[in-house]
């Protein structure tokens, strides 16, 4: 028996050694970082005042990786950064208009010259006050050093007028320039922090209502409230924890068990449970993302370059059915390529569902019996769309051969030219972050980064340029309407399918969890009332 004991001990030693290699790392936080008992409330409150839960735990699906705004364009990171850092301008989620966040007001002198004035007395987490030096430092000194933000150096220069006022000169006129400052990568950082602290500490300093506290890779990132916040009301919640739970069903169970307060993207099958349970709620908002069935026009030998084929597919898809299959009905079928919550949207008729017309067109061009190669990513709704499209198209005698890849692979495949010859159709989505011009310029112009359809049509390029440069709002509106009709009904690079409903599940008394249609959800004012 002794020998066995010795063996066991030896084994135990190896493993403890392996575990010890990590012990020079900061030790585990003394308190469990995650959900404490839901009953943990602020005790010292007068009876009449409402009491709030001290800690709110939000379960998200993807992994948070960095607090540095300039290092990432992933929404998961930006959701957390939105709590800690602020932008010059931002989308107001109630009105969906671009408004000043750190900027008080601005003036367009002409489309190339703008003057911005900051709000006064805005405090950073390190106690310093925001001024134009910080803006200059962020945009002109730090941004050019980071690849994601480097391009802004070739877009504009900044001239400091006084502590709160600065002028911007654009190299290319842009009547919607204020949207550029709404990019999450351009969150304003504290110049002084960078002078006094190491960089990895300094990037944590922002002006938001939450301060960065701790981050454990793959586990959680925690924030504490910023007591001196002036830009926003100081949160009633003391601590905000973002917990990473990849499985949707596990997130749901954690919510039901009271282990977390808010969950992002619950399964559609759990919506009813959230609605019916008196202790829970379903928070919904129509997303901006346009989900589409697209065509790759790069390979002239493919039948998809025949406009009649694309028209036939557009007529032949029952979008209502696809919405039911992919989102359990929680999506609005699209008739227009233009996203419905964006400016210049028109409720055009598009191409209505017409199975007989589709069949006639398919027969006319001899498409029946053909096999079409379609690619999409492994996101659940996309594989469901693909599944349903395959079934719908098989009714017309068209076989769809589906290839599924990971999200990153799909983006790269569709964005690169010359590698997509085998791809004839794709299922993807496009969530434009800013304005109408951004939406079209990045997807429909020759050589653009998200030109999945490989469009190279000089007229479309010209139409997009014309609309962007037009100062008169009425004329601009007309130009965008023409563009919508032309792309949706004539060129048909994509068949727009639907804009899905974005959802949160939450405890019934949680307020202030706001869904952003473009996925950078806001938790600046999230709180949970505790009933006695």
């Amino acid at each position: 028996m002794k020998k066995i004991l010795a063996l066991l001990l030896a084994l135990a030693m190896v493993f403890s050694l392996a575990a010890c290699t990590s012990s020079n790392e900061p030790a585990q936080p003394a308190e469990p970082a995650g959900p404490t008992e839901p009953a943990g409330t602020e005790p010292a409150q007068t009876a009449s005042e409402p009491r709030y839960k001290e800690e709110i735990v939000i379960a998200m699906a993807d992994e948070f990786t960095t607090i540095d705004p300039m290092e990432t364009s992933a929404e998961t990171n930006q959701i957390v950064q939105d709590c800690t850092h602020d932008l010059l301008t931002d989308t107001n989620l109630d009105t969906m208009q671009n408004e000043g966040e750190l900027v008080d007001h601005w003036e367009m002198i002409d489309p190339s010259h703008w003057t911005f004035t900051l709000k006064s007395g805005v405090k950073f987490h390190d106690g310093t006050t925001l001024d134009t030096e910080d803006v200059y430092f962020t945009l002109m000194e730090r941004a050019p050093q980071h690849s994601i933000t480097a391009k802004y150096a070739s877009m504009f220069t900044i001239e400091i007028v006084d502590d709160l006022t600065f002028n911007v000169e654009l190299f290319q006129p842009d009547v919607d320039f204020n949207y550029v400052f709404a990019a999450n990568t351009l969150a304003i950082l504290s110049k002084e922090a960078f002078e006094t602290m190491p960089e990895e500490e300094a990037v944590k300093i922002g002006t938001g209502p939450w301060m960065f506290e701790d981050f454990v890779s793959g586990d959680y990132v925690s924030l504490v409230r910023f007591e001196d916040c002036t830009l926003y009301p100081v949160p009633n919640t003391k601590r905000l924890v973002f917990k990473m739970i990849p499985e949707a069903s596990a997130r749901m169970i954690a919510l039901e068990n009271g282990e977390v307060d808010v969950i992002m993207t619950p399964n559609a099958t759990d919506y009813n449970r959230l609605i019916e349970d008196p202790n829970l709620q379903l928070i919904t908002e129509t997303g901006r993302g346009q989900h589409m069935v697209g065509f790759n026009l790069e390979n002239p030998d493919s039948i998809v370059t025949n406009q009649k084929f694309r028209l036939a597919v557009a007529k032949g898809i029952d979008k209502e059915e696809m919405v039911l299959a992919a989102w359990d009905g929680y999506a609005i079928p699209s008739t227009n390529i233009h996203c419905r919550d964006m400016g210049y949207y028109h409720d055009i008729e598009g191409i209505p569902y017409d199975p007989e017309g589709a069949q006639a067109l398919f027969d006319e061009i001899g498409a029946t019996g053909k096999t079409i190669h379609l690619v999409t990513s492994d996101a659940a709704h996309r594989t469901k769309m693909a599944n349903n499209l395959q079934a719908q198209m098989s009714k017309y005698g068209i076989t769809i051969d589906i290839e599924i890849m990971q999200g990153a692979a799909l983006t790269e495949l569709l964005s690169s030219d010359g590698h997509t010859n085998g791809v004839e159709m794709f299922i993807a989505s496009w969530t434009p972050g800013k304005n109408a011009d951004y939406m079209y310029r990045n997807t429909m112009t020759t050589g653009a980064g998200r030109n999945y359809a490989s469009l190279e049509v000089p007229e479309i390029d010209a139409m997009i340029d014309a609309a962007a440069g037009e100062v008169d709002p009425a004329k601009r509106d007309q130009l965008y309407l023409d563009l919508q009709n032309y792309l949706t009904c004539e060129v048909i690079p994509w068949v727009p399918i639907a804009q899905a409903t974005l959802t949160f599940g939450a405890a019934a008394d949680v307020t202030g969890a706001k869904i952003h249609p473009a996925l950078v959800h806001q938790f600046k004012e999230v709180e949970r009332l505790v009933s006695d």
Binding site: L7, S217, A250, N257, M405
Partner: protein, 310 residues
């Protein structure tokens, strides 16, 4: 013995280099790269090139690999491209979690396997043998992620005994994941317990013991068990390897912040440094474990020790 250990340790170096080579090139073969997913939609080609350079992803795959290998030989696992932190920091931050899970599962596995195996062996060819063998076989045959989901529904949702996710509540959090993973391991261990027990039971010295009139219970407890346990201990090394593998799906179901999930995430986000680093470290850990088991075994079995001494 010392020389043997050093030889084994030195032999790990080429093995690990080969692992890094295989994984790095597989990662390069995989369609899609991290730059494409990190770049904003309106990134220009120049900007993407700049990002590539900044992350050290420029040049051919051979250039990149040799740059990586150079770092590796200086014991530098490099920077994670997606997290902008040293790979070693991220890995060791998460390793203790996977260790907890692996050990928890082995504990559960032994708890199931040893009694079941002994029962099967001592009642060889009876209904008890059949039942315990079939039970253990069902454990091995079950997809463990499926079993994990069933456990969550039963013990976390219906009876709120254990949390459904995470590792915050210490031992309480560990129970369900460890059972999920342990059931899978138990099958193999039960069979080994049974077969080594069977072998020992037939040995002459036990016959002698029985002949001397020692009761059957004592024979099993005093003589058979301790000799039968040695082979079980030696397979613990490979059991640990299986546990690491099974941890990948188990960690996904229970949102367990371990290295298995980290590796899958690294592969999916096409972070070659992180993926390579994690797999190299996995490989190193397993190799070291196997070595330790071998050494320990040598101490237990004098014949092997004599062999090494040569």
């Amino acid at each position: 013995m010392g020389r043997y250990v050093i030889k084994r340790l030195l032999m790990m170096i080429p093995v690990l280099i080969c692992v890094s080579f295989v994984v790095y090139f597989l990662m390069d073969l995989a369609p899609g790269d991290i730059i494409a997913s990190m770049a904003p939609p309106d990134a220009t080609p120049e900007q993407i090139e700049l990002m590539r350079e900044e992350l050290g992803m420029n040049g051919t795959v051979f250039h990149r690999y040799f740059r990586y290998l150079k770092g590796l030989l200086r014991l530098d696992l490099g920077q994670s491209l997606s997290q902008k932190r040293p790979v070693a920091d991220i890995f060791f931050e998460r390793l203790p979690r996977t260790m907890e899970l692996a050990f928890g599962s082995i504990f559960v596995a032994l708890l199931i396997a040893i009694p079941l195996g002994i029962a099967a062996a001592t009642h060889h060819r009876t209904w008890l043998d059949g039942v315990s063998m079939t039970t253990s076989m069902i454990g091995v045959s079950m997809p463990n992620f499926w079993f994990g989901l069933l456990l969550i529904i039963a013990f976390s949702l219906h009876h709120k005994w254990f949390p459904s996710y995470g590792a915050d509540l210490g031992l309480k959090s560990l129970v369900l994941p460890a059972i999920t993973l342990g059931t899978e391991q138990a099958g193999t261990l039960t069979r080994i317990t049974r077969s080594s027990m069977l072998e020992v039971i037939r040995q002459d010295y036990l016959r002698t013991a029985r002949a001397k009139g020692v009761s059957e219970k004592m024979v099993i407890r005093k003589h058979a068990l301790k000799n039968a346990l040695i082979p079980i201990l030696t397979v613990l090394g490979s059991t640990l390897g299986n546990a690491f593998g099974g941890a990948v799906t188990t960690e996904a179901i229970f949102a367990w912040p371990g290295v298995g999930r980290l590796t899958v995430m690294a592969v999916n986000s096409r972070d070659p440094n992180l993926a390579c680093g994690c797999i190299i470290m996995f490989s190193l850990l397993l190799n070291v474990t196997l070595l330790v088991v071998d050494i320990a075994y040598a101490y237990v079995d004098p014949r092997i020790k004599a062999h090494y001494a040569k």
